[in-house]
């Protein structure tokens, strides 16, 4: 292995090596941080929602005119919906989880002035909520139909009972041995009894760190607008959606039906930003890999070209073909390694900069060795082609006088 002479020669003719080493350093920094960003985004997007997200959709009804009997309309609508084959459950819902719209309220365990409050996303639904959302009630009980509160649209009245998620219970009662079940807590500073704990559920705002702190209360607000959430048998959602719209239109034409949309679609819209960043970042990484590979191929080809006479001479002096290949691969490996060493520092610096100014989490250490190995392999594969071409330089070139 002729590492020392290769290094000596490289230092005397540094430019190509410096160019590629710098490229590799910056590439490593971008790839490690970029891959991390992609991973974090996909992790965020794929968080379990706790609901049967593939089979749920929503539709909104806007009654026209002031004679709108919200309670009767809702009752009729739900009956019609539930009669459609394939529908497992349906409920009124004040807003749709993962949609970006909803009601955020504060909860606390006591009414003391200094009592800590925590936030929750609230859904006004019914005793069919659990079935419709497909969530898991792990302790306590569901609402009974007579606990349903029908309230005027300007009223601030709340029912007596509430179901909350485990995450919310843990936030309210951090002690491991305590649970919110059966206790009276304060919802908007008013007492309410927790009758059921839901294992896990996501609320409306995917960027909110209290996303999993959800509560459900059995309320129907009597206004012109009523929203329904419907859950179907697995795989039947797309078929049932237009059927529901048609059925509702037929039973009552004094209204506008709008926003017929699946829960998956709501989620996709909420996560569109994350998805875009991930896709753009992956594109950049792929392009970067291609460009760096091209750069390496270009440099090694160039060096082979420049050193044709030298290669011939070495062959004349006794180098075998694999010696020639090995020379260029070793040289390329050295350049790559120098670039990667600088790149490691750059990667960490870049990450520190992103962490400080853009609230990005700190880079997971595993990305560094992964990036190193990836670029070593990339360098090797890219240099292989031109290196093998070098091996075909005829030793007779050494005696040519041009």
């Amino acid at each position: 292995m002729e590492i020392r002479p290769i290094l000596s020669a490289m230092f005397r003719n540094k430019l190509g090596a410096i160019l590629i080493a710098t490229q590799i350093a910056v590439t490593l920094a971008i790839i490690c941080n970029g891959a991390f960003i992609v991973y974090k985004r996909y992790q965020t997007m794929n968080r379990p929602t706790g609901m049967d997200i593939e089979n749920i959709f929503a539709i909104t009804s806007e009654g026209i005119g002031s004679n709108h009997n919200a309670r009767a309309v809702a009752a009729q609508d739900l009956e019609v919906i539930r009669a459609i084959p394939g529908v497992i459950a349906a409920s009124n819902a004040s807003s749709v989880p993962l949609s970006g719209s909803g009601w955020g309220e504060t909860m606390q365990t006591t009414l003391d002035d200094n009592a800590p409050t925590t936030g929750t996303g609230v859904y006004m639904m019914s005793d069919q909520a659990i079935e419709t959302l497909g969530v898991n009630l792990i302790s306590g009980r569901n609402f009974t139909p007579d606990e349903m509160l029908y309230r005027d649209e300007n009223s601030g009245q709340i029912p007596n009972v509430i179901m909350i998620t485990q995450a919310l219970s843990d936030q309210l009662f951090p002690d491991e041995n305590e649970t919110a079940l059966g206790k009276t807590v304060f919802f908007d500073s008013r007492p309410i009894e927790v009758i059921g704990i839901i294992e896990h559920m996501h609320g409306s705002w995917v960027t909110w760190d209290a996303l999993a702190q959800v509560s459900i209360i059995p309320v129907l607000t009597l206004s012109n607008q009523t929203r329904y959430m419907i859950r179907t048998e697995p795989g039947m959602r797309d078929q049932v959606m237009p059927q529901v719209e048609e059925a509702l239109a037929n039973v009552n034409s004094q209204r506008i039906l709008r926003q017929l949309r699946s829960l998956e679609e709501f989620a996709a819209r909420s996560y569109a930003g994350d998805n875009t960043i991930a896709v753009v970042m992956m594109t950049v990484i792929v392009l970067l890999v291609i460009i760096t590979a091209m750069g390496i191929i270009g440099l090694v080809s160039f060096l082979v070209n420049q050193r044709t006479k030298q290669i011939g001479t070495r062959r004349a002096l006794g180098a075998q073909k694999f010696h020639v290949i090995r020379y260029f691969l070793v040289e390329n490996w050295l350049i790559t390694t120098i670039g990667l060493s600088v790149g490691l520092v750059l990667t960490i610096l870049l990450n520190m900069y992103l962490v400080e100014h853009f609230e990005m989490p700190r880079l997971d250490r595993i990305y560094l060795p992964i990036g190193l190995v990836a670029i070593w392999c990339l360098g090797f594969i890219a240099a292989l082609g031109p290196a093998r071409k070098a091996a075909h330089v005829s030793p007779a070139i050494a005696t040519r006088t041009v």
């Binding site: 875009t276 950049v284 460009i291 270009g298 853009f358 041009v402």
Partner: protein
């Protein structure tokens, strides 16, 4: 001489097609990444109303409940919206040149003609001053009268899209639209107007479509309207049990904007707001230490931090990406030039000075840079389009992903500057090679 050098440059590109294409591609891709990100960033941060941005102000007051960690020296940003009570009170002042309270509400439009089904549309409920304050262009008609505003008449201003839909684009001034079973008289139609960001109401996001209609703010009482925007309540919410009690509550759902002839007059207004809040505080409202802001559009948007951090990260990373592409290009340029040392030596022997050669090669690489920039612009348009569909953008959002002419100019500028920097070292180095060494007889 320039034309001659350009001709040589084109010839050189044709003689080394692969190498030149690689250079153009490398620059193109790097420029595309930067320009795409810059475009989104630039348009997100763009001043939506430059002619007026420093005389039009958003008014914000903090009526939230007192909290144990309230620090009068370090107040939070006051909430974006005001209560109805405060809006009505502020309207009494004659200090501003123009002012308007506003919110948006949803209505069912019931088209009477051409068999269209009723559909839901948003209307901005606001004062007459809104249109002059924000330079909203009118296509037909004009704003409703003072009397109509006072009387809470059922008048409406349509946007152009709605007018096209309902009246085929004709001048519909004076005609009737049935909304929520009521008849509204059309007082005017506004032309296409989509400030980006829609600064006057960013409570539901900074890039939303302008509402389809405008109606007098005063309609809120007779129609018992509720907002289709955000409502945030402080104070005692349990006592709210009627429309009246809601209107009198500490719930915030009204935006408020004022206009002055110059920024100095706004100072006097700030004093007015302060003394208003102090007098209200004496009545038991405004529990927190007095906290308010009167910010012009530019400052308001910055305070609200509407430019997402993600976009800033992407801009930074894309410039690093451009650096890699440029390093690549330097290498390719060097390779290209070093392959032609005999031609260089020949030219020197025939009398070209070193400067001549440097100029020739700089022009060559800048031509390549120009091509690269054009390729980059093309790729950028494709990229922006791709991002727009990934973002599932509504039409206001989509504006961010339209190539702004300033960005086209930036693309050309950056690629020319970058190629100049890239080409400098290779051109200087190669033109400095002693001619004799490269002159061969074969």
């Amino acid at each position: 001489m320039l034309l001659y050098n350009l001709r040589l440059a084109l010839l050189s590109i044709r003689q080394h097609p692969i190498l030149s294409s690689l250079m153009i591609a490398a620059i193109g891709v790097g420029i595309a990444a930067c320009i795409t990100m810059l475009n989104v960033y630039y348009l997100s941060a763009k001043n939506p109303i430059p002619e007026k941005s420093n005389v039009v102000f958003a008014v914000q007051m903090d009526n939230r409940n007192a909290a144990p960690d309230d620090d009068p020296n370090n107040p939070d940003l006051p909430p974006q919206q005001l209560t109805y009570t405060d809006a009505i009170n502020l309207l009494e002042s004659d200090l501003p040149l123009r002012q308007a309270a506003m919110f948006k509400s949803a209505f069912a439009i019931q088209p009477q003609q051409n068999g269209l089904a009723p559909y839901l549309a948003l209307s901005r409920m606001t004062g007459r001053d809104f249109f002059q304050m924000f330079d909203v262009p009118f296509l037909y008609g004009g704003v409703w009268s003072d009397d109509e505003a006072l009387a809470a008449s059922q008048v409406v201003i349509l946007n152009r899209e709605t007018n096209d839909k309902l009246f085929g684009g004709e001048d519909s001034t004076g005609r009737t639209v049935v909304i929520n079973d009521r008849e509204f008289r059309v007082s005017g139609v506004i032309d296409y107007w989509q400030p980006s960001p829609n600064f006057y109401d960013i409570t539901n996001g900074p890039f939303n479509d302008v509402e389809e209609m405008f109606m007098p703010f005063s309609l809120v009482w007779p129609l018992q309207l509720d907002t289709a925007g955000n409502t945030s309540c402080s104070g005692e919410t349990s006592v709210i049990d009627s429309f009246e009690s809601f209107m009198a509550s500490e719930c915030r759902w009204v935006s408020y904007w004022v206009e002055f002839s110059n920024a100095r007059e706004a100072e006097g207004y700030r004093d007015y707001i302060r003394s208003y809040m102090e007098s209200q505080k004496a009545l038991g409202r405004f529990e927190k230490p007095i906290n308010y802001s009167v910010l012009n559009v530019y400052d308001y948007l910055i305070a609200q931090e509407i430019v997402d951090d993600s976009i800033k990260i992407m801009v930074a990373l894309s410039f690093l990406f451009l650096v890699v592409c440029l390093l690549n290009t330097i290498g390719l340029m060097l390779a290209k030039l070093l392959a032609r040392t005999s031609q260089i030596a020949l030219r020197r022997a025939l009398g070209a000075s070193r400067m001549d050669l440097i100029r020739q090669y700089i022009i060559e690489i800048m031509l390549i840079g120009l091509f690269g920039g054009l390729v980059g612009i093309l790729l950028s348009v494709i990229g922006l389009d791709g991002i727009r569909s990934l973002m599932r953008a509504n039409s206001a959002d989509a504006l961010l992903f339209e190539m702004d002419w300033a960005m086209v100019a930036a693309a050309i500028g950056i690629s020319l500057l970058a190629s100049l920097l890239v080409g400098l070292y290779p051109a200087v180095r190669v033109s400095g090679l002693p001619p004799a060494a490269s002159l061969k007889t074969q």
